[in-house]
Symmetry: C2
Subunit: 467 residues, 2 copies
């Protein structure tokens, strides 16, 4: 790919489109800093310019200009990504969607909402709950991440096990194509058999096919009741096995989160939370049930206990108060940050059919033993989505940079052998790119590259990502 | 498009691939007959040859041969389609998937099943229910349609309102591309952020991008209890409005089916079923609630009654026995056949945001009055998916063929204005092709045509469909 550098004329053209105050140049070093990284490891890439357009019309003009002039554009939400997708690896423009931050409408009659991509996920969740409605996708970074980013990476979160992931709530999107054309991808309906599914093609495309400027979500009635419990297991693998058996008993919890002992220890220390753990407890499941009726939840909980009795579990903690529930969830959501604060690490976002989780977990530990790395594993056991935090600890830089990738390849090959793949909800972005051919074959890659070329003939949109 | 006719050499080559007994030529007129039509209106297209391959390897060889020789191939499931998608409009090969009819595995630990595309939907539903599992998609033709066809047309059915449509249960597919290459589209996981979503691109592509040869479905635990009621309304529009209000009351029924008075009258006569209807009842809602717990269903039913009290409803019939439930469902499922037996008709598969249903219904009647057609409307009110059966009655052939399409265009334009589209679950296929630019703009069409060309550079797979 041959791109052009950004000239003073280009900067002037951008300023004319978005207004001078929404153009950021490297000279403004401090303001620029946050646009040079995301939450992925310790990567830094400085763009030539950051643009903060206000709407689709401005984005369309930017794209037209950049397409004509072969200038790379990297779209960016809140920068909470975990695969380097929002990094300007080919320099050029960072196009931030932060000013497209309106909840345009919440349509209670149709249980739909129309939003801009720069709305923070939690802000949206809370706005719809106020109307008795529910937007279930719930990534750990919900307090800061943007809905547009959630769509781009096909985010999930703990409730996916019952309610599905972000993609399952998107009905329609307005997007600006790399050529500057603006189009909706579908219609505002629950069923659509009219042409190819451009909506789902755009979801999870990591900002490589177009820039999302509006989203129509479906909503569901909010289940007002829930019940949260933390279940300690003496054997890690039994925690994974219990997950399958709870489903087989006919229960669909709204969350089934797995945490290794280290994950809980590091996180409770990081948060200064007091979590009692017996010395022989190796892993925990955080289980949430939700619904309209507390009596029914207690009945379901009884059936969950019956399943758990088959395993070697410790004392089950049932959260009595909202505060306790919140603490348990805060514990789970903070594992990533806790590990990060403890050591340099790499996070892998593996996913397998859920009953294969014990095999994956055993494999990760075995591969770790051979490659001499420690891992802290946790994640969405109900979906078979295991986050593997590989901590650098006392590994040499040489091994970290050159030997570890071979170990990661082994983990990914194991995922694929088990019927899984290499990313469940973080995306491929920049950092998993080198592993993509473990997950995708030549035919798939050819089709995907062809789609990329169709949408973006000059390859200017988020270059250097996915493939 | 310039295709080659099928030569005796081609027939010999096909016989070598699939075996002589699985090649059908027009000379076998009676056996050929069923492959000349589907369930769409009164269309007839005779293929040059029907092939019944046994597996993906044979299909791959057929596609390679046809691609090399510019021979059109029309894939076909059970032929229950309602948009002419399985008709060989350019002659050539009909490729029937009827011999790919194995349920390969039902994986209870992972709540997944792997099947071939020629399995009958109801056969699959019943096989999984035996294991306590549930495959919710439930098209009216479930007793004869194939799962592969359901995927190709993105079928829905009544339970979509709670459980989603076919596309929401597909995790992964094995497909043969028009070039003969065989690939899986994704992985057997509930979350996947690894490259573009080829799986969802293939779903609903109406057999124009590839031939599905294996499907991995996700399943859910089967809710053992249900409650079915038939609610008569004195005003059609109130039936539609009640649908939205039931959702707003926090209830998600497993079905909310709308039937106009004529739909019930014609169908009960057709089935010789006795359905009591007061003279002033204009429409009915068939409401189903399902779950694990009968007490909870009664509670939910109470809340449904509370909502219904706001409307002018007649006596609510609650099905007491399995037989009664079955009869009510049979009534609903048979509307299409009943109308067909009554008159020549065209079925439109409109879909709008559900609260817009009353506006759509009013619009259809108003347009009908202007164009002088009668319509029988029914369908999945919970999804905003209204099937409009336009009956020919005493309309002249001239008006039926030349004037009616203008009326249909008006209906479709109204759907799009209301945020909806022109097909919810039947597909565009052959018969809605001429209306496609009402629903899709130039940009969308260019992208879709580009995708078609990428997958099928010679345009041999199901030509003449969608665009």
């Amino acid at each position: 790919m041959k791109f052009n550098p950004i000239t003073p004329e280009a900067v002037a053209a951008f300023a004319e489109i978005v207004g001078q105050e929404h153009v950021l140049l490297p000279a403004a070093a401090e303001a620029m800093l946050r646009y040079t990284h995301d939450e992925t490891e310790d990567l830094r890439y400085e763009p030539e310019v950051v643009l903060k357009p206000a709407n689709a019309a401005e984005i369309s003009r930017i794209m037209q200009y950049c397409n004509e002039n072969y200038i790379p554009v990297t779209p960016r939400g809140a920068g909470t990504g975990l695969s380097g997708g929002a990094l300007a690896v080919h320099k050029g423009v960072i196009l931030s969607t932060e000013r497209l931050n309106r909840i345009i409408s919440i349509d209670e009659r149709n249980l739909q909402a129309t939003v801009e991509p720069g709305v923070i996920t939690q802000v949206f969740q809370e706005a719809v709950i106020e109307r008795g409605l529910f937007y279930p996708p719930d990534p750990s970074s919900r307090g800061s991440c943007f809905l547009g980013g959630n769509l781009s990476e096909s985010s999930g979160g703990p409730r996916a096990v019952k309610y599905g992931v972000t993609k399952d709530y998107v009905l329609n999107m307005e997007v600006v194509l790399p050529t500057g054309e603006v189009t909706w991808t579908g219609a505002n309906v629950l069923k659509n058999a009219t042409g190819y599914n451009l909506t789902q093609l755009m979801v999870g495309s990591e900002g490589t096919l177009g820039i999302i400027t509006k989203i129509v979500f479906k909503l569901i009635p909010h289940p007002p009741q829930n019940l949260v419990m933390l279940v300690p297991f003496r054997k890690e693998e039994e925690a994974c096995e219990a997950v399958s058996q709870i489903f087989m008993a006919g229960i669909v919890p709204s969350a089934m989160e797995f945490m290794e002992r280290d994950a809980i220890e590091w996180t409770s220390r990081y948060l200064s939370l007091d979590v009692a753990m017996a010395a022989d407890e190796q892993a925990h499941l955080l289980i949430e049930l939700d619904g309209n009726d507390m009596d029914l939840l207690f009945k379901d909980a009884e059936r969950v206990y019956e399943v758990l009795e088959r395993f070697d579990v410790g004392e089950i903690l049932v959260a009595d108060t909202e505060k306790q529930k919140e603490d348990l969830w805060r514990l789970r959501r903070s594992v990533g940050h806790a590990v990060k604060s403890n050591s340099i690490y790499k996070e892998e976002d593996t996913v397998v059919p859920r009953a294969e989780l014990p095999v994956l977990l055993r494999g990760v530990k075995e591969i770790g033993a051979r490659y001499n790395f420690k891992s802290v594993c946790y994640g969405h056991a109900g979906d078979g989505n295991l986050h593997i935090n590989i901590v650098k600890g006392d590994m040499s830089d040489e091994d970290w940079n050159n030997r570890l990738p071979e170990g990661i390849k082994e983990i990914f090959r194991l995922c694929v052998e088990l019927g899984g793949t290499i990313s469940g909800e973080h995306g491929i972005g920049l950092v998993q790119r080198k592993y993509i051919d473990i997950a995708l074959n030549e035919v798939q890659l050819r089709l995907m590259r062809g789609i990329k070329e169709l949408f973006d003939p000059r390859g200017i949109l988020n270059p250097g990502k996915i493939f």
